[in-house]
């Protein structure tokens, strides 16, 4: 297990390094200029070319790109993500203040995905072909296909405007998290339920299930005790990918429900061409994505000894 973990962590570092280069280049090569933005921020609507160039010098934006990259990476490794050109405050501090609300949003949604997706998938598999299965399939397809912003506005309209049950502003107290969680979780729960159903059905066709049935065990018992654990590896793989996508999905959901988290920070940084803040946000999103995948891989290795032995 230790060697497996080491191997995975090494791979993770490589992925992050590549990601950091891509992030850096993406922003560096895009049109537009942060120095102008800062000069305007300092000098108002009439920043002169001299002032802009002065800012560019201050930020090291006149240096060659590789030099800028190395300086940035060196700071990032030490937890110094630079200073926001928009606020002139350290980015680490600004992001730290937003970590809690985005994690709460993503973690709650992930929990909801599992709580909805797994049981519904199991039910659909056990009732495969029946009307319950068909209704669940239709619901899952709907949940996956309807865009989050539409679901979000519909829920706000019905729950907040018509029924007056919760505030339209999310992420403040526990109650105000409920709608954002649902909106964020729905498409992923729909997709997960389909994966659980098909994986379970495949597993239920295996010979050891027939053996169980011939021993007189009920289908539900077999599904719970034997089929589901065997189906867990592919389901976990899907969940790992979903965890990353949920993190990305917070950008939209935070906008709909006025939640000041990572997503909003990222959006503002992009529109202001706040290069250090964009880089830091993308890097953190990437780290979140990679860590989610790492956790899933480790869980898979715990479930399935063949994985940690490197046999698969």
């Amino acid at each position: 297990m230790g060697r497996y973990l080491g191997r995975r962590l090494l791979g993770l570092a490589a992925v992050l390094l590549v990601l950091s280069v891509l992030t850096f280049l993406l922003v560096a090569l895009a049109p537009g200029d942060a120095a102008t933005a800062i000069a305007e921020r300092r000098a108002g609507p009439g920043a002169s070319a001299v002032q802009i160039d002065h800012v560019r010098d201050d930020l090291g934006l006149n240096d060659p790109l590789p030099g800028q990259y190395v300086r940035w990476l060196g700071g990032a490794v030490r937890g110094d993500l630079g200073v926001s050109v928009r606020s002139l405050r350290p980015i680490s501090g600004e992001l730290a203040g937003r970590l809690g609300v985005t994690l709460a949003l993503a973690a709650g949604a992930l929990a909801l995905v599992i709580l909805m997706g797994v049981p519904l998938g199991v039910v659909a598999a056990l009732r495969a072909g029946g009307w319950v299965d068909r209704i669940l399939r239709l619901s899952a397809i709907t949940a996956v296909s309807v865009p989050s912003f539409l679901v979000g506005y519909l829920l706000i309209y019905v729950v907040s405007l018509r029924l007056h049950l919760v505030s339209t502003l999310g992420g403040r107290d526990l109650r105000s998290f409920v709608l954002p969680w649902i909106v964020l979780a729905l498409p992923f729960a729909g997709a997960l339920s389909r994966v659980v159903r098909s994986t379970l059905l495949t597993t239920l066709g295996q010979p050891f299930i027939t053996t169980g049935l011939s021993k007189g065990l009920g289908l539900a018992t077999i599904a719970r005790r034997d089929a589901l654990p065997n189906a867990a590896v592919p389901i976990l793989a899907v969940l790992g990918a979903q965890a990353g996508q949920i993190l990305a999905g917070t950008v939209v959901v935070e906008a709909i429900f006025s939640i000041e988290g990572f997503g909003q920070y990222f959006l503002r940084a992009v529109s202001f061409r706040d290069i250090p803040a964009v880089q830091a946000s993308v890097l953190l999103f990437a780290i979140g994505f990679v860590i989610a995948n790492l956790i899933v891989d480790l869980l898979q290795a715990i479930v399935d000894p063949r994985i940690r032995a490197g046999l698969r």
């Binding site: 895009a30 049109p31 537009g32 200029d33 102008t36 305007e40 921020r41 300092r42 000098a43 108002g44 609507p45 009439g46 920043a47 002169s48 070319a49 002032q51 928009r86 606020s87 809690g100 609300v101 994690l103 709460a104 949003l105 973690a107 709650g108 929990a111 599992i114 506005y153 706000i156 309209y157 907040s160 405007l161 007056h164 505030s167 339209t168 502003l169 992420g171 403040r172 107290d173 526990l174 998290f177 969680w181 005790r225 034997d226 589901l228 654990p229 867990a232 906008a255 709909i256 006025s258 000041e260 909003q264 959006l267 503002r268 529109s271 202001f272 061409r273 869980l299 715990i302 479930v303």
Partner: protein, 532 residues
């Protein structure tokens, strides 16, 4: 056996995630206790929507939200709705005949929110933070004030290096001219806390909410309300829902939480909401890059001006919440031209282009040069740009002019408009009250003023005309000076004025006594009450 063990960790995982989610969210915002719809809005608190966090509330910085700054800080003179200047922290002023010396008599007994007296010395301290500082040289006063004297506690004397009558109007602006307590800054004079003389003072500030409380020692009219909460709601749809649900009481304003014309329509049909609209103080203008190419041809610029159907743009794209613009500035701006909007005349445009030698179809050309232009737009900061540019494209196609739309993000747009001047046509919006006409004229039409908003049109002749109007000390001929500018712009078709957008606000019907301020930067709450 193995199966059971696997099951239990899965249950454990789910449990852990639920637990992880629960405590983290209670830490989200301690102000908690969100009022849900219709209940519990305290009678002394008003909640105002704002599209992004207020930023650094330093008057000499350019990130702090304008409206919040005007509530905390005060100017020497106030800009009134009719364009006149009223006493603020200065009770009166006197200008010398040569237009070089201004003497302000300061109001007695005014103190900053930290108890520091506001006197001539405090005023001088503030002026020295921006007068002559290169960062603020977009502002005439920063360039032309040559000395600042605190004659006695209540007398402040400013000497200019050249006559510059707009100096007085610039004294009514928010940034960088308003007054910060000299005791509030750090040892090196650096900004620390927002402490002004205004009726509101900062209570708390976070990414989600900024709270102001009433300044009980305010010298002027005391507000009835004791608390203003600015609630950050970035999404325009979510803002409309928040007002309808009662989560905020005030929504709108160009610098707080802009409303779209279609949202005003929705809100007007809601009995729980009162809509407030008024003619705006800035104009939307289509600028031409007239230095090179076919747009250097006056006939082409005139033809474009004739081919644009401003009244259908107003009704179809803005639900009537914009009026066809006649000139660069709306008539509400001091000294603005009193022209009527150019007539919509596509036939005349076709004839003009034909007689100027631009022929052919579907795209006219002359000497191998086609009437094909790009129109650069930034939909993120001006959402109506998309539909408006589509309309312009279609209208100009009717007179044989091809338009290619080039949407850019804000940063890319700034580069294209200002540094590279890489555009044929682009939308400009004049600054509006209290900046105009001087600020838009110098920043957008005068070649010598460095501007971060780019130039609409420049020429040596226009430079002369603008310079003469701003340096004149003769009030009697000032209107004539400006008339010459407007006449020249019109002869040259220097730009195509499009629309005067309305000011759009909406407030909950629980709110009484709400009136629009003199400018979009003001949020006067003195007479406002809430019952619920």
């Amino acid at each position: 056996m193995r199966g059971r063990r696997s099951m239990s960790w899965m249950v454990g995982l789910v449990g852990a995630l639920v637990l992880l989610g629960a405590p983290a969210c209670t830490g989200g915002d301690d102000q908690g206790g969100e009022p849900s719809a219709g209940t519990g809005i305290a009678r002394d608190t008003i909640r105002v929507a704002i599209s992004e966090p207020v930023g650094v509330l330093n008057p000499q910085d350019y990130t702090g939200n304008h409206v919040v700054l005007t509530m905390v800080y005060e100017p020497l003179l106030r800009y009134a709705a009719d364009g006149s200047l009223e006493p603020g922290l200065a009770e009166s002023y006197e200008a010398s005949d040569d237009g070089l010396t201004y003497t302000f008599t300061l109001r007695d007994g005014v103190t900053f929110q930290d108890g520091t007296p506001f006197d001539a010395e405090a005023a001088r301290f503030n002026l020295e933070r921006w007068v002559g500082v290169p960062d603020h040289n977009w502002l005439g006063a920063a360039n032309y004030i040559s000395s600042i004297d605190a004659v006695d506690d209540s007398t402040l004397e400013l000497t200019l290096s050249r006559p510059y009558y707009p100096m007085l109007q610039e004294m009514s602006l928010t940034r960088p001219v308003r007054f910060l307590s000299p005791d509030s800054v750090g040892p090196d004079g650096e900004f620390q806390e927002p402490v002004g003389t205004g009726p509101w003072m900062l209570d708390s500030d976070s990414d989600t909410e900024t709270v102001l409380t009433r300044n009980d020692s305010y010298w002027g009219d005391q507000p009835t309300l004791s608390r203003v909460e600015f609630v950050v709601i970035p999404d325009p749809q979510a803002r409309v829902a928040a007002l309808q649900a009662g989560d905020v009481d005030v929504l709108g304003g160009e610098y707080l939480a802009p409303l779209a014309p279609e949202d005003v329509e929705v809100l007007r049909s809601d009995p729980g909401v009162q809509g407030l609209t008024a003619p705006g103080t800035s104009n939307l203008v289509l600028a031409f890059n007239a230095e090179t190419g076919p747009l250097a041809d006056l006939d082409v610029r005139q033809a474009i001006n004739m081919a644009l159907d401003r009244s259908s743009m107003s009704t179809a794209l803005f639900n009537g919440l914009a009026d066809p613009a006649a000139s660069v500035f709306p008539t509400i701006i001091p000294f603005a031209a009193s022209d009527s909007p150019p007539a919509f005349d596509p036939d005349g445009a076709n004839e003009l282009l034909e007689s100027a030698g631009w022929t052919g179809s579907p795209v006219r050309s002359k000497g191998g040069e086609e009437l094909s232009f790009d129109l650069v737009l930034d939909p993120s900061s001006f959402p109506q740009a998309r539909s408006l540019s589509e309309a312009i494209k279609a209208e100009l196609a009717d007179v044989g002019i091809e338009v290619e739309l080039r949407p850019l993000d804000s940063a890319g747009y700034g580069a294209a408009i200002v540094q590279d001047r890489d555009f044929d046509m682009a939308f400009f919006i004049t600054y509006g009250a209290p900046y105009d006409p001087p600020s838009s004229l110098t920043n957008m039409f005068e070649s010598s003023t460095a501007s971060d908003d780019g130039k609409i049109f420049t020429s040596p002749r226009l430079d002369d005309l603008i310079g003469a109007a701003l340096a004149s000390t003769d009030e009697a001929t000032r209107a004539d000076d400006y008339e010459r500018i407007w006449a020249y712009m019109s002869e040259e078709s220097a730009a195509a004025p499009l629309l005067q957008q309305s000011r759009m606000w909406a407030v909950s019907s629980d709110v009484q006594g709400f009136e629009l301020g003199a400018t979009e930067y003001d949020l006067p709450l003195a007479g406002v009450t809430i019952t619920s």
